[in-house]
Structure formats: C-alpha cells, structure tokens
Symmetry: C2
Subunit: 209 residues, 2 copies
C-alpha cells in the first residue's frame, strides 16, 4: 500500500519502519525543509513529502499529538475516499486524563474534520515500544481497531498485522469512545502506576463457557 | 467476610452464590417482604435482610442497575468506613452508550453519595455468566478493580479471586473512568457486534520486551 504518515514521533516512526519492512511504500510528511532533511536522515528508506502530496497515498496515518491533529489535517489535500488511520489520543496536558467526554471521541471528531475519509481508529491503545515487539510468551498483543467502512477496516487489519499485532475488530467508529479510555488506562498503568510498558490488553475468547 | 448485597440480578446473584460457596456470610437486601420471600426461595443458604441491617456487614456490594443506585444507597445506613463495591455501569436505556461523560464515573459519583465508604469499582467489565466460569483454556479471565483505599482493595482482591477471576489492580478510583468504557466495549461486542458472552479482556505482561 502507498501510505503517507503525518507525525513521525514514537508511534509514527515505528509504523514507518515496520510497514516499510513489509514492502509498503511509505511517505513521511514534513512541514518544512528543515524537518524534511531530518526525516531523510532518520528514515533513509522512506520518501519525504509535503502535506499537499498526500493525495497520491491510499492510506494516511495520523500519528500527531491530539492538539496538532486538526491543523495537520487541514494542511492535507485529497483525503476524500482515502483510508485515514487515527492513532491519536485526546490526552490532557499531563496525560492524566482525556479532554473529550464519553459521548465523543477523537476519532469521531476527525471524521467530522474529514467527512469523506474512511476513518479507522487503530494503534492508540498500547505503547509505541510494543509495535514490532509484541510477543508475550508466544502470544501476540492485540491491535484493536474500529471504523464504519468494512473495506477500510480490512486494509487496516493487514497493517495491524504488519505492525506485529493480532488485529481485533471492535466494531463501529463510535467505539473509539471505549478505545480512547482503554488507551488512557494503559498510559495510567504504565506511567502513573509504574507498571512500565511491557503489558497490553488482550481479548481472550472460547467456543463455549 | 460479612457481605451485604444490594441488587440480586445476574451479577449480584452470581456473586452471592460464589461468595457463599467460599465461606463468606452473605446477606441479601430486600426492599419489601414479597421480595424477601422470593430471595429466601432462590438463595436458601443466604440471609435476607432489610437495608437498615447492612450496618452489620463489613462489605456492601452494590449490584443494582445504575438508575436505582442512588436510592438504594440512601436506604442503607452505616456505610461509613465500610468497603463498598461498585459493580454498576452507567448505561443509557438501550445499553448503546454511557450516560456519564469521560470526566466522571459511576464509581466517583457513588463515592460522593457515600463519602466515608471505601469505594472499590469491581465486577463491572465482563458478563455475569463468566463469574465462576472464567476459564479460557487454563487461563482465568481478569477481574479489574480500582479504588483509593489499599486495605479495601486487598479485601476486594480476595472476593475477585473467590468469583473465579484473576484480580488485577488498575489503580485509583478515578480509573473507573476507563473501566466503565471498557465495560461498554464488552457489552457492545457481546450484544451489538454479536460476539456472544464467551470473551473477556485480559492484561498480559512480560518481564522485559
């Protein structure tokens, strides 16, 4: 797939390397030439583009901090019809809570900002260090995702797998209202409860009880 | 432990039987004599009491639907200093969403209603049919709980174990803001995504990545 990545912090950077390693064509979006040069140094196998060139991608992954998401999306042209993966979490300043209430989600807000994109929430509910490194005694951590477009979700499931996670479809986009608090719980346990980052939530199931 | 249970629906009824089987003294709260007689028939090994008699219990488990929780608590005397287990979820009428926003939780509201009780959120994030029946190929489902009183949480961890679940402490009471959406996700997957009830979320961890 041709994938443009907005935001090359811990999550975006990890996804770029993993997806590139699985043969996807990765383009990293830089807002200016200084940043572009830095990205070329850090990601020599990826293309570096301006936001206006996202139109050529099939998939756009939004890996910015939440407070930068709206302006990043505004700078991108041609999102209509594309798969837009939302990796954000609407955290407050000290990452102690979410700034959206339980009748809203970052993913649904992003869908409003890009109404014709096929938004899929993914990669938000575990630490970046687990991407590509998610083996728990032979059991892969789960990559939960949700969205309203079935075909977009099939593409994202492949990308979740290519990031080393077991893809788990958790329903429509509004279930981001649950995945974002799940991320908040992961963050709180990791940072504030001092559990570190070597854990994940997994959906376990069986045929019958 | 001496435990009074408010609400003997699916969750409260299952906990009554399981805890009684582990040697705890269970008292079921009935709001009138008709209900009391029905409970005596259904739970012959448990005592049936009026709310005013909860003062003798060490632990009170609130297993009512959310919209009945406030009046149930008002009818109970002597909650000060007791462990109060909140098993509720603040669901809307058709169980399609939560009615509290992400900066609040049922558990914190209950703590306001019973300010001197030691509130612990537990037993809210999986289906009642999994209580006492939570073996997934040799792996027990997790019973997540959170609260602000360490001693109260130690007691609740024992009761989680006695309900057949692996106890997992997920931090302070405010993390109910995450456990309640996790319950919403469980309910949505079970009911609306037709996954049935034979699944649970588990926290998996490892020493190092």
């Amino acid at each position: 797939m041709k994938i443009a990545i907005l935001g090359t912090g811990r999550i975006g950077g990890a996804l770029a390397r993993l997806w590139q390693g699985h043969g996807h064509e990765i383009a990293l979006v830089a807002r200016n030439e200084e940043r572009a040069q830095s990205l070329r140094n850090d990601f020599p196998r990826c293309r570096v583009i301006r936001a206006s060139a996202c139109a050529k991608a099939e998939v756009v992954a939004l890996c910015m901090p939440w407070n930068a998401a709206e302006s990043a999306l505004q700078s991108v042209s041609g999102l209509d019809g594309k798969v837009l993966i939302d990796c954000t979490n609407p955290l407050n300043a000290d990452a102690s809570g979410l700034i959206l209430d339980g009748t809203a989600s970052a993913a649904e807000q992003i869908q409003e900002w890009a109404p014709k994109a096929k938004v899929v929430k993914a990669f938000n509910s575990l630490g970046a260090a687990l991407l590509g490194n998610a083996d728990f005694a032979g059991v892969p951590a789960d990559g939960f995702y949700c969205g309203d477009d079935a075909e977009a979700k099939r593409l994202v499931a492949v990308l979740v797998q290519d990031a080393g996670l077991h893809p788990v479809d958790v329903g429509p986009l509004k279930n981001a209202r649950c995945l974002e608090p799940l991320a908040m719980l992961w963050i709180d346990l990791a940072l504030h409860q001092k559990r570190g980052g070597n854990f994940a939530f997994k959906l376990i199931s069986r045929e019958r009880g």
